[in-house]
């Protein structure tokens, strides 16, 4: 409490400082008067008494000083005085102040933007209650635990019913797309992302709908119940509370809305707008034997349970499971991962890299301003010398200088905050599409404190170094110097030079980093995707079951059934044939998903002839494409061996598959795949005979390795893919190769066949391809911005030191010219100094880049982190820039008139 009281007194004293001094003075005066009166009473004259009193009293000034020390504001008052003085100094040098503040503000602003992202995305907890207890339980191949898959329904039911360490385990199917119409007539249909949640998910996530409720046991297990997102509710149902109990049409059938989620609710897929209740076997029932791996298990750990404990429980359950369901679970284990790390996993690295990059920018900016300070310090040497002559000690002077720089940095920090809030707005606006929780990004108190901290630290660091140098002023020398000839001493020159070297080397690292990413982007843009995207147009049409299914007894739940009969295929074929006759159209194919658009379904599989898996198996899943034979022709995917899918396959009882070269290489390294059979982990699917090998398609352009892919005839799909409920709407994607994109002609052609067809999502495949590189493009843009800023600062730094050097050596150059030095000699003299700095900086920077660019390896495509081309280009570019920055001041040296230069002194 004493400390508090003291602090309070000090604080109060700051504002009452004058009064305290006045009071002390008055007290002293009274004392003196009384003392004098006493002497007078003892017989002195008035004058003698006054004098005696004063002599006895001693120095009133000293007492006042002591009184102020004790009762006054102490160091705080001094600081405030320093700050006031600092402001005056900064105002006296408006240009220096403006340049320094702006430089620092840009750097601090960049740091604040990136820290806001780190803070919002990496540091802040997820928005579920007690989100640190949420964990995802992946299914992983035992020998490749880094490949994480959703699990089978059998695995889920076993975990759910046997766990002791989780409060509850739910399962979700995270990525599904459905059409939803706003009523049962199918009006205004729209394609949305949906997720299936088992009932337990509500207990796991512990988030309640803002309106209505989650589906529960009371709801008929044979019907569909959904909860919708806040956005969908606003968009489709005008935010009306009537939505509860409303029946809507999904492509699965009629569903009843039971609730609306609060805004911002999401689970691992921010685009999902519908949550459908997933019914699985009730506890106590037999384990489902379905091989489909579609359920992502998510659990809520009991309090105090660690991830390691949960992992060992899961390991035990995995071996139990592989005994109970050997045909689907042998060779599979579980991996427990915190939900938080699932979220940040993907963006953690780019964010940390950016944080590093902006830190470099800040250091460069600091070096620049510190360089300016050293130069400016020369001008202030006399002022400081005078101050130390009249009794300021060295510490006092350093404090004054540091207060000035911290002040500078704080002003810059304030401006930087403003830059940052604008920059953050821009980032969210243009931001990478795959950033999770974009809506949660913002600046909060942490960001504010961070900015304050880096501002102060920045000020301390770039201020303290030059101040130490400046304050070591040699008194007599400084005072004797005329103001005009004040120059940088060799020591200070060296300090400033090392700042420039530091700047250049950091800028080199940043430039090489962004250069590598730029080159990756260029390479990716030129890279072959395995087919010809140019000239492909796609659009989607939904087909309704009520029109295309005529079978009887279509009870929606369970049972083998044909989802759609041949009537649908007849319809799509008629449309295809009509489209082919449109002028400029070369070929047409009907697929499920557009090429390069959307995530293809991945299906795990085994070779039939070697049911025991080779331990070295690299991939466990292949991308699954249901197509017709003209798919290869339309996309121009080359067929390497065997045959394509033929229309006859529809009538054949022999299930076939066309695999790609990557799959052939990985799984049939030594034998001919044609004629072999592979079995997919799909319900009701038969082992398929490989009839052909197609070229590799880079479906995910960013994926460096080629993925195994399989093409199966659309007419030979398993009767039901994984749903217990038949789809009511099937969406088909038409892919058209055409020399001109006559969208209206295509639309008209389709309408001719079916006037009610609803054509949507008309895109070129090149648009899909572009969208895939969006993130890399944005990461590259961001890093390039930082690199450009650093290069600019660097050029300014070089320019500054060179200009200063020329000014300083004006004398010397004048003498040289007078003695007959040629312009070439002068130029060489000046340039030599600058080029030395530049080459040292470049050398250090290149070495640094070699050491550090490894961290962006995962963002690079087709080049190594030490790509010589990038290194060479960056070196050359920076060398040219630096040369210009050196040359401009050097040219001024040429114009020095020896007569004027010599007369100055």
């Amino acid at each position: 409490m004493n400390v508090l009281r003291l602090a309070w007194l000090r604080l109060k004293a700051i504002f009452t400082g004058h009064r305290i001094e006045r009071e002390i003075d008055e007290e002293m005066r009274l004392h003196l008067d009384l003392l004098a009166e006493e002497y007078e009473q003892n017989g002195m004259t008035r004058k003698e008494a006054d004098f005696a009193a004063r002599r006895r009293f001693g120095s009133a000034l000293l007492i006042r000083e002591r009184g102020r020390e004790v009762r006054g504001g102490g160091i705080l008052v001094d600081l405030i005085r320093d700050v006031g003085y600092g402001f005056r100094i900064l105002r006296r040098n408006p240009w220096f102040t403006a340049v320094a503040v702006l430089t620092l503000a840009i750097a601090i602003g960049a740091n604040t933007v990136i820290f806001s992202l780190v803070n919002s995305l990496l540091l802040r907890a997820l928005s579920y209650p007690d989100s640190d207890r949420l964990a995802v339980i992946w299914s992983v191949p035992a020998n490749h635990p880094e490949q994480k898959f959703p699990g089978t329904s059998g695995a889920y039911v076993l975990l759910r019913d046997n766990t002791r360490l989780f409060e509850a385990i739910g399962a979700a199917r995270l990525y599904e797309a459905f059409t939803v119409a706003e009523n049962t007539d199918g009006a205004n249909w729209e394609r949305v992302q949906a997720q299936w949640f088992t009932q337990e998910m509500t207990a796991v996530l512990a988030v309640q709908p803002m309106l209505g409720r989650w589906p529960n046991d009371g709801d008929d297990t044979n019907s569909l119940f959904i909860v919708v997102s806040h956005g969908l509710w606003q968009r489709k149902f005008a935010g009306s509370p009537d939505v509860l109990g409303k029946k809507v049409l999904l492509d699965l059938g009629v569903a009843t809305v039971t609730g609306v989620m609060p805004p911002g609710f999401e689970l691992m897929n921010p685009d999902a707008e519908i949550w459908i209740r997933q019914v699985v076997t009730a506890p106590g029932g037999p384990l489902p034997r379905s091989p489909n791996r579609i359920f992502t298990a998510i659990g809520r750990l009991k309090r105090g349970v660690t991830l390691e404990q949960a992992q060992s429980e899961m390991n035990a359950l995995a071996s139990q499971l592989s005994q109970q369901l050997p045909e689907v679970q042998r060779g599979w284990g579980f991996k427990v991962e915190s939900l938080q790390s699932v979220y940040v996993g993907r963006i953690r690295k780019p964010l940390l890299i950016f944080q590093g990059a902006v830190f470099f920018v800040l250091v460069i900016a600091c070096a620049n301003v510190a360089g300016l300070l050293v130069a400016q310090g020369v001008g202030r040497r006399r002022e400081l010398a005078i101050r130390s002559a009249i009794g300021s000690n060295r510490w006092r002077i350093i404090r004054q200088l540091v207060v000035e720089t911290v002040l500078l940095a704080l002003i810059a920090g304030l401006l930087g905050l403003m830059f940052a809030s604008a920059g953050l707005g821009a980032f969210i606006w243009f931001g990478p599409a795959d950033f999770p929780r974009l809506n949660e990004i913002g600046m909060d108190l942490h960001v504010f404190i961070f900015t304050l901290l880096i501002s102060v630290v920045t000020g301390l660091v770039f201020g303290a170094l030059p101040s130490m140098q400046v304050s070591r002023a040699d008194l007599t020398g400084a005072l004797r110097e005329t103001s005009r000839s004040s120059t940088l001493g060799p020591q200070r020159q060296r300090l400033r030079s090392s700042f420039v070297v530091l700047q250049i080397s950091l800028a080199v690292v940043l430039l090489i980093g962004s250069g590598l990413m730029l080159r990756s982007l260029l390479l990716l843009n030129m890279a072959q995707v395995g087919f010809m995207p140019h000239g492909l147009v796609t659009f989607q049409i939904p087909f309704s079951r009520s029109v295309y299914y005529q079978g009887a007894g279509n009870t929606p739940a369970g049972g083998l059934m044909v989802e759609f009969d041949g009537k649908l295929n007849q319809m799509t074929e008629r449309m295809r044939d009509r489209l082919k006759s449109v002028p400029a159209v070369a070929s047409v194919t009907v697929a499920i998903t557009p090429p390069l658009g959307g995530m293809p379904r991945r299906v795990t599989f085994t070779r039939e002839d070697t049911p025991t898996e080779p331990a070295e198996r690299e991939a466990w899943a292949a991308e699954w494409y249901p197509v017709t034979g003209d798919y290869f022709e339309t996309l121009r995917i080359p067929l390497m061996r065997g045959r394509s899918i033929s229309p006859d396959d529809a009538f054949s009882r022999r299930p076939v598959v066309v695999i790609n070269s990557a799959l052939a290489r990985q799984f049939f390294p030594n034998d001919d795949p044609i004629g072999r059979r592979i079995r997919f982990d799909l319900l009701d699917d038969q082992p398929r005979e490989i009839v052909g090998v197609a070229g590799d398609v880079r479906q995910n352009r960013y994926e460096l390795s080629l993925q195994p892919q399989v093409y199966v005839p659309q007419d030979q799909l398993p009767r039901r893919m994984d749903l217990n409920i038949a789809r009511q709407v099937l969406v088909k994607t038409f892919v058209v190769r055409t020399s001109a994109p006559p969208i209206d002609a295509l639309r008209a052609a389709v309408r001719e066949i079916d006037p009610t067809a609803a054509i949507s999502t008309v895109r070129t495949v090149e648009e899909y391809a572009g969208a895939q590189l969006q993130d890399l493009r944005q990461y590259t843009a961001l890093l390039s911005i930082f690199a450009t800023i650093s290069a600019l600062l660097c050029v300014i730094g070089i320019f500054g030191i060179m200009a200063h050097a020329v000014m300083q050596r004006g004398n010397e150059i004048g003498i040289r010219v007078a003695l007959g030095a040629s312009p070439g000699n002068v130029l060489r003299l000046v340039l030599r100094q600058g080029l030395l700095l530049v080459s040292v900086g470049l050398g250090l920077g290149l070495a640094g880049a070699v050491a550090i660019t490894r961290v962006i390896r995962t963002f690079l495509w087709g080049i190594t982190p030490t790509d010589p081309v990038t290194f060479m280009i960056v070196t050359a570019a920076l060398a040219v820039l630096a040369l210009v920055a050196c040359y401009l001041p050097a040219r001024r040296a040429l114009r020095i008139d020896p007569i004027i230069a010599l007369r100055i002194d």
């Binding site: 009071e23 006493e38 001693g58 004790v70």
Partner: protein, 112 residues
Amino acid sequence: MKEIDLLQGTLDLLVLKTLGGGPMHGYRIASKIQRLSADVLRVEEGSLYPALYRMEQKGLIESEWGLTDNARRARFYKLTRKGRREMQKETESWLRLSTAVARVLKALEQGT
């Protein structure tokens, strides 16, 4: 008799003890100590006021402006409760110290 300058701790104790008699301004404190010690102890103004400020800051005494007998504005100091406790404690330990010192001196003088 020659005047003796006071050590700091002693001065604090004397000031506290003096203020035990009631609020008083700086000059009165100094003159009272001097008078009571029969002019042996002399209080330096250069020490008195800093000591007062320091003790005020520690919360041992507090001060306010008031009027002297002949109606002049002066700053009056008075003991706080904490100051009174401190005074008693310090008085006791001073007395213990001085008796002990006196005893030692006496014993040494008698040559035992």
